[in-house]
């Protein structure tokens, strides 16, 4: 007898389950996506013991009749696509027809469903892949899927589950990924019968974000939007100062589906590059809408990856949307007074209102709230949360400055040019002092700026260099005696392949021997630097393993290196003229709020903050 045999269908399903049912959160994902595809307006999720004991998802969608129920638990049975071509024109969340069969093969699954036209609901049970016939029962229109004892049929997999708290964490994250993309649909999440999230239907994405993550997150976000060539990029993005320690805060949705895409991620990184610290991550919520035929979602069983028809175009659109916003926005850090401030009081007030409304059942909201609400939209619940009220205040505002500055003091928008002209003309003498040979303290009409001289100068030089390169006006000192540097031959190729980029920077390197290169020209700008040491750094950078950086990226990185090395350092005393010159240039430079490494250059301490600290108001 042969050793190779065809596996029984149930085993096939269990193997397939390994792909799309990895842990309780993946079950939640599959079930909630099914619910979305059923046209539900409200989806309720219940979890017991981190999903081991029970995962229940109820929707109020179109429901299924008994025949559908039977087919639903079969592999590759689906209502979502019918023909080949549909695969490339997918409007639904799911389409593979795998999920329920897979889940059914590794748990005790019960599906209760009633279609709108049916008088009665039916329930079907599947245990370890063995299914009953549907039986009638009583239930509202819609579908309830209950998954009990997940992985009881695959003990090995069950062992890999983490603590209930961890699994609930994953489930919550999964919910975020879905709920943020579908603000129009209400969601609840109950863990151990306790309500964890109650996300009411809304038409504003910002409101959904505020609901999920809290108003502190939502109120810093800036709206972005761009549409071109059939690609619409919308989003809510945090200014660089509100960066995060984890990449988790990059939420990218393509046609309503959460994805991780390296092109989009790269564009985001690129837009924030040199505005945030390299060890930090930006917080962005990006909603990309493209024609379904322009993107292939059938790449990965969990559909977390996509393939673009034109990835460079998408990359460019995302980058442009973000860059435009940052160039138009005043990104100066605001000084945060440590003691009680308006924001804090607002939160306390909000929390109290929250407390009372929750415990007052359907009582009318208190007058305070009325005044805060704009009242333009009907409230789904009488007692709206204070966090929402804060959001509502800022939602309709297009001025980004108003968002960055939750305090009532109006932040100065970015009208830099007239200001700069005034300063240069000497009409408004800048009052500034240097402290500790490191910081500049500058008087402003609405407060005080504290500037890190190195960070600011570095940014100014960086921008100057960038401009020079664009204008092809970077001066390069030719060398009488070429500087010969020992460089192993395996690096020669990388030097030669970047010769053009280097030439744009005024650096001319020629391979001069089996293990040496000769420097023939060097930027005048860097005259004071040790050329050999700089070159070694540069070649190391060029030869860094991994993806070859694009010429442009590389150019900027090198500019960065140059600017940093040429800028005044902390501890360098500056004359009043130098201070004035630096400040005048600050007005003219783009993105002067952050040094090219992303550290802030400037803190703003408003008059209001000061007055509060001194109890003047």
């Amino acid at each position: 007898m042969g050793v190779i045999r065809v596996l029984p269908p149930n085993l096939v399903n269990r193997i397939a389950a390994g792909e799309c049912v990895e842990r309780p959160s993946s079950v939640v994902k599959e079930l909630v996506e099914n619910a979305l595809d059923s046209g539900a307006a409200q989806i309720d999720i219940s979890i017991l013991d981190g999903g081991r004991e029970l995962i229940a998802v109820r929707d109020d969608g179109q429901g299924m009749n008994p025949d559908d129920l039977l087919l639903a638990v079969h592999p590759h049975a689906t209502s979502k696509i019918a023909a080949d071509d549909d695969l490339f024109n997918i409007h639904t969340m799911g389409f593979r027809g795998e999920a329920l069969a897979s889940i059914g093969s590794v748990s005790r699954l019960a599906i209760t469903s009633r279609s709108a036209e049916a008088d009665v609901a039916h329930i079907i049970r599947v245990e370890g892949g063995v299914q009953d016939d549907p039986r009638p029962c009583a239930a509202p229109v819609g579908t309830l899927v209950e998954v009990r004892d997940l992985f009881y049929a695959v003990p090995a997999r069950r062992k890999f589950l983490k603590t209930p708290a961890t699994e609930v964490g994953h489930i919550t994250e999964q919910l975020a990924r879905i709920a943020l993309a579908h603000p129009g649909i209400g969601f609840t999440l109950r863990n151990q019968n306790r309500l964890v999230h109650d996300l009411r239907s809304t038409d504003a994405r910002l409101e959904r974000i505020a609901d999920f993550f809290g108003s502190e997150v939502a109120e810093v976000l800036l709206p972005i939007s761009r549409e071109s060539g059939g690609v619409r990029v919308e989003g809510l993005v945090a200014p660089p100062k509100d960066s995060r320690g984890s990449s988790k805060w990059e939420y990218v949705f393509v046609n309503g589906r959460y994805v991780r895409d390296r092109f989009v991620s790269h564009a985001v990184k690129e837009a924030y590059r040199s505005l945030i610290d390299p060890s930090r991550y930006p917080m962005v919520f990006l909603y990309i809408t493209v024609d379904p035929s322009h993107v292939d979602v059938n790449v990965h069983p969990t559909k977390i990856e996509v393939r673009w028809r034109d990835s460079n175009f998408v990359h460019g659109q995302v980058l442009a949307a973000l860059r435009d916003k940052f160039l138009k926005t005043n990104l100066d850090h605001r000084f945060r007074a440590p003691a009680e401030n308006e924001e804090y009081r607002e939160r306390v007030r909000g929390a109290m209102v929250d407390f009372f409304t929750r415990h007052a059942d359907a009582e009318r909201p208190v007058a305070v709230q009325q005044s805060v609400h704009s009242g333009t939209r009907p409230q789904p619940f009488a007692g709206s949360r204070a966090s929402e009220s804060a959001v509502r205040e800022i939602t309709p505002v297009d001025e980004p400055a108003a968002v960055t500055c939750p305090a009532p003091a109006p932040a100065a928008e970015v009208e830099r040019a007239p200001n700069a002209a005034a300063n240069l003309a000497g009409a408004v003498p800048v009052r500034a002092i240097q402290v500790h040979n490191t910081y500049l303290v500058v008087e402003q009409p609405d407060g005080v700026l504290i500037i890190d001289q190195h960070a600011l100068h570095e940014r100014i030089l960086y921008e100057t260099l960038k401009r020079r390169i664009a204008d092809r006006k970077l001066e390069s000192q030719r060398l009488l005696l070429p500087e010969v540097i020992r460089v192993p031959s395996d690096r020669h190729e990388v030097i030669e392949s970047h010769a053009d980029t280097l030439a744009r920077l005024g650096v001319e390197i020629v391979v001069s021997g089996p293990s040496s290169v000769a420097l023939h020209a060097f930027p005048s700008f860097l005259e004071r630097l040790d050329r050999t040491a700089f070159l070694r750094d540069l070649i190391d950078r060029l030869a860094e393993p991994g993806a070859r950086p694009a010429a442009d990226t590389l150019l900027h990185e090198i500019l960065d290196m140059m600017a940093c090395k040429a800028a005044v350092k902390a501890g360098d005393p500056l004359t009043p003229e130098e201070i004035a010159a630096l400040l005048a240039q600050r007005e003219l430079a783009d993105r002067s709020s952050h040094c090219p490494h992303g550290r802030p250059t400037t803190l703003h301490l408003s008059l209001r903050d000061l007055e509060k600290q001194f109890h003047r108001r």
């Binding site: 100057t464 092809r472 001066e475 390069s476 000192q477 030719r478 009488l480 005696l481 005048s524 050999t532």
Partner: protein, 372 residues
Amino acid sequence: MKTVLPRQEFQDALTAMATLTSGRTTKPILSCVKLVASKKRVELSATDGEAALHLGVACISTPKEGQAVIPADGLLSIVRELTDAEVSIETDGRHCTIRGEGSEFRIFVMDAADFPPVPEFDGEADLVVDGIELRRMISMTLYAAARETSRYAINGVLWEKQGKRLYLVATDGRRLARAGGEIRATGSNDFEAIVPARALGVFEKVFTPVRGEDDWHVDVKILPNQVLLRSGDRVLSTVLVEGHFPKYQDVIPKNNDKRASMRRDELLAAVRRAATVTTEESRAIKLAFSTKELVITSQSAEQGDARVQLPIQYEGTTVEIGFNPHFIADCLRAVPFDTVFVELQESFRPGIICGEDKNDFLYVVMPVSLSN
């Protein structure tokens, strides 16, 4: 040890010593000066570990011969503050007592046995050079030497003896200066030695013409790893820079056929004027040579632009070239000529500045180009 010295002469000697002792050092003994008192004279020496200086001062009396190692800064500041004509120095093993009229100071001393040996000028000189001539050659080259680069060999000035001539050559890789002069007397073979720039800086400060002596000369002794320079009772010694000085002859252009001449002071003034609008980041000036006229322009995005013109002797075709103005000004400040010659070929090739005779002085400078 106890000795009485004329205060002013002693102060001058200590000031010369301070050129070596005032540098930052981790070895405290290197910031000290060593005194050796005999009946008629007190010998002073100091070293920074690389260069060493030795001077003698005639004393008024030495009641007790001996030696002492005293912190130079402290001693100098005391001697400078005294107003007396004489100063008395007395030491025991731990202290040095300095007495003027009505004042007395005590400072700690260090153990004389720990003071590093200072080379002495023994035997005949390898060459004898006119003192004024040597000072001229040093001042015409020293500014072009590299400072603290990783290419050690160019952190010094090359001394090159060719028969009856001595050449000094310095470069920082972007410009090169060479000065040549006659040797008065020589008993040695031709040689090449790289003398650290720092030691030559000390020479410029300390080796000035001896008053009342018309025929001032400097004796030079070359050892395998050292050079000693002697004038009267002053001796400066320094270790030589190891390594190979670049083959500078190769970079001196031979085909610079566009030759212009002009007044040195006018060119210097014009370059400095044009350089006023250059900045740290943009420091090039452009020189446009045409018949009878040189136009120097510069511009910077931050400051504005400048245009300066001056009359020159020039008959060749029009040529434009960019230079770092500091490189031009450095050279023009250092040379004594009334008329200088600028020789060019093309805008990306090195230019030459020289006097009547390139054997006396020659300066090669690389242009600045705009990247494209």
